[in-house]
Symmetry: C2
Subunit: 248 residues, 2 copies
C-alpha cells in the first residue's frame, strides 16, 4: 500500500517520496539489512525522474535510515535510534524516550548581564548585551535527574516569557516558531565532576557524589551561537546516548 506523489503539493516531490519510504521503513515493510526497490523501479513506480529518486534516498541516508552498496542495491539500516539534533538536545524528548515523564522546577528566569565565561562561549562583544538565563531542576517521574542552566543570546528586542516556556514546553520550539531560529550545529562536552553542597541539596544526593556534566553551545542556521547550556546529571540515574555516522 504505497501512497502516491502529489505534484500539486507545495512539499517537494523528493521530500514526499522520502516520507513515504521512511514510513514504510518504520512500518517494517522491509527487514533490516534488506534491499528496497532499485532506483529504476522507484522511477517507474512513482513516475519520478532518477535525480529526484536519488535525492530522496540521499536524505534518508543522511538521516540514517538507508545505506547504499555499489552494484548491490539500497539497504535498510537496522532499527536503531534515529535522532536529529533537536531531539538530541531536548531534555523533555530525551526523558520520554526513556519512558519517564519529564518535569521541571524553575530556579532562575530573567535577563542578566552575562559573566565572562558565557560571553566567551556565545561570542558576545557588546558589554551591554544581556542574555536570558533559565536555571531549572529537571525531573523524570518527579525524581530529580539534573540541573540545567541555560543562557540564551536572543535577537534584539525579542524575548521569551516564562509563561510561553511553560505552555510550549521547549525553548527550541519557541525559537523556531516565534523567531525562525533553529539549531543547526552544536559543540558538546561531557566530563565527570563531584557534587557541591548546593548541587547535592538540589538533587537530593550526598555532597561529593559523582555527576555527569554536559556542556553545549548551540549554533543557529546562520552559525550564530544562540545558547550555552550546562546540565549536571546525577551519575547514578543518567546515561548519555549518541549515535555517530560517518560523514564521507
Amino acid at each position: 500500500m504505497s501512497r502516491a506523489i502529489d505534484p500539486s503539493n507545495i512539499i517537494p516531490k523528493y521530500y514526499q517520496l522520502a516520507n513515504i519510504l521512511r514510513e514504510q521503513i518504520e512500518n517494517g515493510t522491509w527487514k533490516a539489512n534488506g534491499t528496497i526497490q532499485s532506483e529504476r523501479q522507484l522511477e517507474q513506480q512513482y513516475n519520478l525522474s532518477r535525480p529526484t529518486i536519488r535525492q530522496a534516498i540521499d536524505l534518508l541516508i543522511t538521516q540514517g535510515y538507508l545505506y547504499r552498496i555499489h552494484g548491490k542495491g539500497t539497504f535498510v539500516s537496522p532499527p536503531k535510534l534515529q535522532k536529529g539534533i533537536l531531539e538530541l538536545t531536548s531534555f523533555s524528548e530525551d526523558m520520554r524516550n526513556r519512558g519517564l515523564e519529564p518535569g521541571q522546577e524553575f530556579l532562575e528566569f530573567g535577563l542578566i548581564t552575562p559573566p565572562k565565561k558565557i560571553t566567551t562561549r556565545l561570542d558576545i562583544t557588546d558589554p551591554l548585551q544581556k542574555v536570558l538565563r533559565i536555571k531549572r531542576i529537571r525531573t523524570g517521574n518527579d525524581v530529580p535527574i539534573g540541573i540545567q542552566d541555560s543562557y540564551l543570546n536572543l535577537p534584539e528586542k525579542k524575548t521569551i516569557t516564562k509563561e510561553e516556556l511553560e505552555e510550549r514546553g521547549s525553548i527550541y520550539v519557541i525559537l523556531q516558531e516565534k523567531f525562525g531560529i533553529y539549531p543547526a550545529e552544536a559543540d558538546e562536552t561531557l566530563e565527570v565532576t563531584l557534587a557541591s553542597e548546593e548541587e547535592a541539596a538540589l538533587l537530593s544526593i550526598p555532597a561529593g557524589s559523582p555527576l555527569l556534566l554536559n556542556e553545549r553551545i548551540l549554533y543557529s542556521q546562520d552559525r550564530k551561537a544562540i545558547e550555552f547550556v550546562s546540565i549536571l546529571y546525577r551519575g547514578d540515574r543518567y546515561k548519555y546516548y549518541m549515535r555517530l555516522t560517518k560523514k564521507v
Copy 2:
C-alpha cells in the same frame, strides 16, 4: 590560485572540486561566515555543470565546512573541529589533538570465546565464534588516561597480530587496509562509574574515584557489528568532546 579539474582523472570531478574548495577554506581564502562564489560562478570558473557543483558543495556541507542560506549564498562555517567518525573513535588521534603523546601497555591480546554481554552487543549467534580481545592501558605523555577493552568480531580466517597493531598503531587502519572494512556508524554511551580496586591500581588513582565510562559498538559499511569497546577514563584527566550537526 585555484587548481583546475582534470577530466581524465579517475577521481570524480565533484570530488576534485570539493578538495579544491576544502583546501581554500582551510587556507583561509574566505573569512568565517563569508560567502564563496555562487554556483553559477563556479560553473563558469571550473567549466562544470551545476549538478556537479552542487554535489561538491553538498559533500562539504555534510562534512561541516559550508552551509547554505536560500537566496543569499553559500557560506564558510566557522573553523571548528571537523572530525569524521574515524578520528572520533581513535584514541591516538584524540590524544594528539589534545597535544599529548599517545602510548599504550597491553594487558590482554588474543582470541577468546566471548561472554554473554559481548555476544549480545556484537549480534553473534554461533556459540563457537571467537573474537579478538585487546585490553590496554592508554596513556598520554606516559600518564595513564584510561583502560580500553576491545572485542573485535573479525571475518572468518582473518586476524590481526600484536606486531601489526604495534606497527600500524590503529586497529581501524588495519581493518581498512587489510580487510576493506571501515567504520560507518557507531552507537555510543557515556556514564559515570566509580573505580574498582583493580581499575584504581591500573590507573594509579584511589579506589572509588569517579570515572567516565565510554562504551561503543562500531558498525561497518554493510552494517555488521565489528567491535565492542569500552574505555574507562580517569575523571580528573579526561573530557569528552563531540560535535553534532543537524541532519535535515
